[in-house]
Symmetry: C2
Subunit: 193 residues, 2 copies
């Protein structure tokens, strides 16, 4: 299998397309972010990397809180829009018709139309070149009731977006289920015995 | 849209299923990790969160280097297996039949069968409860030539896995393309004028 060297670059599959929320000077604002992932299980934490000049980052610093909202494919236009324009110039909440709500953290605005919402307290900030890497502790998780199956979040109902780089910069939907995790690999373990 | 509160937990869509590689006492080892994301664009960096006791983490500390390998759906069994057993007890490379290669970083083993391989130098370690959050600088990216289209990585050829929690812990494939990024949102911007 011959390999091509593409140079150092930010290439991972999958990458998310999250809407990161903060109150900036008391007004809710959201920006699209693909540079994000889980950072710790206990306590639950995640990372979001934002460019230093971001309007949303100003609000996160003001309050020490932020939210991560998982959009469904239904709002792909709004999700992309929030990555193109700055909240410094546009009232994104008004333009997109987002219904904003708040949870236990009080100052982290969340989007009702996004099926999954995580509210976070900022724990650490690492200044890394072009981006500030924020580590947030997840204080509460909200899921739209219609996206639950037996009380648990159901990805087929959530219908989340995937951000994709490479030959095309596109949003993708989830596809087929491939296998059960912590299960399909047991076949190899058993075969070895 | 009524929301259910599920308590603080690590719930994001999508999450990856990467194979993180390190030489442990000179021998290549790989473990499955879903807690990962991009951390910076310039220079390109990523995060991987590993539990403190992990055998792979021992190797990352030894060498200050590691790799992130993106498996395709073809090797879902091997990917799951590498998350179930420890390299302390099993020779995962031998059991899975991984062909290992090295790049510019010299001590970060990569898997030929994975279509995308990133070699990293460890830059920062944050100790966060159950996990160590590693920030690695991406030194080189390798892509299997058969997964390129016009010299760029093509997600449809790569066929990467998505890790999914919630109602079921499953691996999913990528689905349909939903929209072009940095493009579909312009419709909202134009309509506003």
């Amino acid at each position: 299998m011959k390999k091509a060297q593409l140079g150092p670059r930010t290439l991972l599959y999958p990458m998310p397309a999250f809407l990161v929320g903060a109150n900036v000077s008391g007004k809710p604002n959201f920006m699209t972010a693909a540079w994000s992932g889980i950072a710790c299980s206990t306590p639950p934490m995640l990372t979001v990397a934002l460019q230093h000049h971001r309007f949303t980052l100003r609000g996160i610093k003001e309050n020490g809180t932020f939210s991560v909202n998982v959009p469904s494919a239904d709002i792909v236009k709004e999700t992309d829009y929030c990555g193109i324009v700055s909240g410094d110039k546009e009232d994104k909440v008004g333009v997109c018709g987002f219904k904003v709500f708040y949870g236990v953290v009080k100052t982290a605005p969340m989007i009702e139309q996004c099926p999954v919402n995580l509210e976070c307290i900022l724990m650490h900030t690492l200044h890394l070149g072009s981006h500030a890497l924020l580590v947030g502790q997840i204080e509460e998780v909200h899921v739209s009731e219609e996206c639950l199956t037996n009380g648990e979040p159901d990805v087929l109902k959530i219908n989340p977006l995937i951000y994709c780089t490479g030959a095309d910069k596109k949003y993708f939907a989830f596809g087929q289920s491939v296998a059960d995790a912590f299960s399909v690999g047991l076949e190899i373990k058993k075969a070895k015995r």
